[in-house]
């Protein structure tokens, strides 16, 4: 375990040294920019736009971060020959792979924590401005209190926290998937390209599954059925992780739904890591 954590902390340090956190400036610009542009809209709509933009940007940045960071780990270590130095010590390939993945997850955790803090600060600042304007319009009294309560209800809701955790889970699945691809790929560009393609296919996979299981009313040919079945079994279903959209628009998402999505994410991470290890352990270095 200590070997895994040592590799993980080292990986995190290496990634941080590559100045990956500069993207936070862009994230902050998006959050502040959207809050500014939306300021003329009715209050419910401006909170909605801010949440949509911030969580959307969190999704995009976390996906890009984990995909690029994970795709470059193995090729870079092979190129720098540090991989050989590490594996020459009493470190198994499984420990090495788990350490690398854990390092990427630590990076993802720090990045998402920073983005969440920025998002909540922007949301809180906007909320305070709207409350001040509302109190100015209504003045003190029951009407003013009711209006402020409506503003508060539209701004922050506790479901935003699991929404961020679901984005983390989805990104964690992407990282494990990229590591699996990277374990047999010879170039990081190939790994990134295939990861992006799988990411897109993962969002339309339910359509293939529906057609395969003939739930959509269409009756595909045998060849098409074979193709649809292969697509459904091989590619992940990322659409199931998209309950974040529901949370942003203020719809209640039951706790058991979060639980099932997290469990599914965990299953994907386990399988992709296992397959990645099988590929990596048989790779000639």
């Amino acid at each position: 375990m200590s070997r895994i954590t040592a590799i993980a902390s080292n990986t995190l340090l290496e990634l941080v040294r590559q100045k990956v956190f500069y993207f936070m400036l862009l994230f902050a610009a998006i959050a502040i920019g959207v809050a500014f542009v939306a300021s003329g809209m009715p209050f419910a709509e401006q909170f909605q736009v801010l949440k949509d933009a911030a969580l959307g940007a969190t999704s995009i940045f976390s996906f890009l971060l984990v995909t690029l960071a994970t795709a470059m780990i193995l090729p870079k270590e092979i190129e720098d020959r540090t991989l050989y130095t590490v594996l020459a010590k009493p470190v198994s390939r499984l420990e090495y792979l788990l350490g690398k993945l854990l390092g990427v997850y630590l990076l993802l955790f720090v990045a998402m924590l920073l983005m969440s803090v920025l998002f909540f600060v922007a949301l809180f600042a906007r909320e305070q401005l709207v409350i001040a304007a509302t109190l100015k319009d209504y003045g003190p009294g029951p009407d003013g209190e009711a209006a402020v309560a409506a503003v508060k209800a539209a701004a922050f809701n506790w479901n935003l926290v699991p929404a961020i955790l679901i984005i983390f889970t989805k990104s964690a699945v992407c990282a494990a998937l990229t590591l699996m691809l990277s374990s047999f790929a010879t170039s990081w560009i190939f790994t990134v390209m295939i990861s992006v393609v799988i990411y897109i296919i993962g969002h339309v996979q339910p359509i293939a599954r529906e057609a395969w299981l003939a739930q959509s009313g269409v009756n595909p040919s045998s060849v098409m059925k074979l193709f649809l079945g292969f697509t459904s079994l091989v590619f992940p279903d990322f659409q199931l992780f998209n309950i974040v959209d529901e949370i942003v628009v203020g719809n209640a998402v039951p706790g058991w739904m979060f639980g099932q999505v997290f469990a599914l994410g965990l299953g994907y991470v386990f399988i992709y890591t296992l397959v990645g290890y099988i590929f990596f352990s048989n790779r000639e270095l």
Partner: protein, 255 residues
Amino acid sequence: MKARVLGIAIILVFGAVRLPFEVRLEKEQRALHYHGAKLDLGMRQRLSQMGFVAALSGFRAVVATVLHIEAYTSWQRVEWGRLKLTYDTICALEPRNMQSWDMAAWHMAYNASVAARENKEQPRLALRLKAEREYFKLGEDFLLRGIENNPDHALLFERLATIYRDKFKDHEKASRYYEEAARRPDAMQYVHRFAVYELAKVPGREREAYERLKALYEKGEEERLPTLLRSLGELEEKLDVPKARRLYSPPPQKP
């Protein structure tokens, strides 16, 4: 080679194991009205290629955010046609976002309709009124589609009832939709009363409305609001209820 075959086999077996779980989870999510967005050819025509790819890749909310800002600009420029098309796309991307349906209906039924009625470029009143009514219908259409996607919430039922009451002056439909709103768990405190107030204005249903107003009155002080008392008085007058049995007594006239 062996490792690759084993790896692919594990992925396929995992695919088969997760299949029933994912099918069930998707069904449960659909039962909660998730995944209502239709990314079809119609949507492709309305979005740019990149926008469509982004929407396909799970970034529907981001595309919708950009469109929200576009819609806001269209509103500032009073480009009603463009605003309507933009909201059509936003609502198709985020059908569970009641805010979008509500905003779209509000723009059509309250802003665009007034602009059409007061359009100085159209000298004929009949045509201006026709255009105004067409915008009412567009507002109604947004809300009906919104309700289809969000039948579990009161908000859009309440908004539709209000459009029937204030714009179409169709009190029967207004009453029916206030009633529907009142049946939802997140119903506003006033909608059950509004349903009866509107029913009281429907010709031929005065007796039914009177009985329901009486039932509300008998619930206690918290229901005896000025509008309820006034409606009750009007119906007692209309139905010629004997003075001794009347619940509402008008305040004494000041000399």
